[in-house]
């Protein structure tokens, strides 16, 4: 019917069996379920943690003008705020990482790209969480020997 019928047809259409459209095998496991639950749970907890953090730092007392090295030193000398900030750090980091992991899954087309981006993501997350945890627990407000902070005079 078409003009091309006389010449040898060039068939470019790739059968589905060999194309990227082919569905690859199933992978069972509850990981995606738990990650979905974690996003909801951590999201709610983070609302409390972050707004509590903002309220205490920026609104109570003198508000934002009180925030300086001494203020942070004072806060982190209390185990309550250490745990608060640790929770905030870990939950925010994991929540964010899981979100970006989803974005990578949704937008990358090749498994190799996916792998590289996720490797970068997880490395950065590990770095942030390890460093952050270290700082929260080893923070020394009296690192300066001539410090005049009230916590250091004791």
């Amino acid at each position: 019917m078409t003009a091309t019928s006389s010449e040898t047809p060039r068939v470019d259409a790739v059968p589905v069996k060999h194309s990227r459209y082919r569905r690859v095998g199933a992978s069972r496991g509850n990981f995606e379920l738990w990650s979905w639950v974690f996003m909801r749970g951590s999201g709610i907890l983070l609302l409390v943690l972050v707004f509590g953090h903002l309220f205490v730092n920026l609104m109570l007392g003198e508000g934002i003008h009180a925030v300086d090295f001494a203020f942070v030193g004072q806060k982190w000398s209390s185990p309550f705020w250490q745990v608060w900030d640790l929770l905030m750090l870990w939950l925010a980091e994991l929540h964010g990482v899981n979100g970006v992991r989803t974005v990578i899954n949704d937008y990358t087309e090749k498994n190799s790209t996916r792998w590289v981006l996720k490797a970068l993501l997880f490395t950065s997350a590990l770095l942030v969480m390890v460093l952050g945890t270290l700082v929260i627990f080893t923070f020394d407000p009296c690192i300066d020997p001539s410090s005049t902070l009230s916590v250091c005079s004791r």
């Binding site: 019917m1 078409t2 091309t4 047809p9 060039r10 068939v11 470019d12 259409a13 790739v14 589905v16 194309s19 990227r20 459209y21 082919r22 569905r23 690859v24 199933a26 992978s27 069972r28 496991g29 509850n30 990981f31 995606e32 379920l33 990650s35 979905w36 639950v37 899954n105 949704d106 937008y107 990358t108 087309e109």
Partner: protein
């Protein structure tokens, strides 16, 4: 929209009450695997009635202008689900879309549904779509002896999954889903809708198996609730809600 409103429009028409006609341009994405390496656009002008559907316009092109135009259609009345296509950027059934409703003042674009391999013009390979459909086991699973009479179900139990029985497997939902567009590995709304139809059927006993299938890495958890599927469904199925109900069923089976 009513007959009286249409009567006022054509001043020059002879018979009173005659259906007005107008000329419209259809911009159709063409692809011939034997000669083309890339799809391209081609425009056609057709004169259609205000009562004509996009499918009628496509017929006119195929029958009167260019016989090489290829598209699927079977019943032509919105039941078989063969002629889902992307009309003016939205997935619709060509047989259920009136030309006058898709802004005929401008060229109307017609493309194959996205995310499935194009075979020719508006025809896509539906196999990956049906693969996902088969995986959710869309058939009644029971144990024990077969009853001698029909399996009785209360009206309330029947209503539980009524919405998802309406699916005609046209793939308009799955191919409107951005997660599916990416790599086509996501089960897609249609497969989940058809799993939902049996998971919530009181006569069926395979619900657990189906939930496990949809707990897959590419299962319900990939849904981002963008509602594209619900908007695209020509049968008005609340697809996103069905997906959320399957998620909830999975969660309640765990906790």
């Amino acid at each position: 929209m009513t007959a009286t409103a249409e009567k006022q429009k054509p001043a020059g028409d002879k018979a009173p009450g005659a259906v007005p006609t107008f000329t419209v341009t259809l911009k159709i994405q063409r692809f011939n695997p034997e000669t083309d390496s890339e799809p391209h656009w081609e425009s056609y002008q057709v004169t259609v009635h205000a009562t004509d559907r996009v499918l009628d316009a496509l017929h006119q092109i195929k029958w009167e202008q260019d016989g090489s135009l290829s598209f699927r259609r079977s019943c032509a009345h919105g039941v078989c689900g063969s002629d889902a296509m992307r009309i003016n950027g939205k997935n619709r059934l060509a047989c259920k879309t009136l030309v006058k409703d898709v802004n005929p003042d401008k060229p109307i674009t017609v493309e194959p549904i996205k995310g499935l391999p194009v075979e020719k013009d508006l025809i896509v390979d539906m196999e990956p779509f049906f693969d996902a459909y088969r995986e959710v086991m869309p058939f009644l699973i029971t144990t024990g002896n077969e009853p001698t009479r029909e399996r009785i179900q209360s009206q309330q139990d029947r209503d539980r999954f009524d919405d998802t029985t309406k699916c005609i497997l046209c793939a308009a939902c799955t191919t409107s889903c951005p997660v599916f567009w990416n790599d086509g590995q996501y089960f897609g709304p249609a497969a989940i809708v058809n799993a939902h139809r049996f998971i919530f059927d009181s006569r069926d006993e395979g619900g657990k198996q189906r939930l496990e299938v949809l707990n897959d890495k590419e299962g319900v958890w990939r849904c981002r609730t963008t509602f594209n599927c619900t908007e695209a469904c020509p049968r008005g199925i609340e697809v996103t809600q069905a997906i959320q109900e399957v998620k909830r069923a999975l969660l309640t089976s765990r906790f």
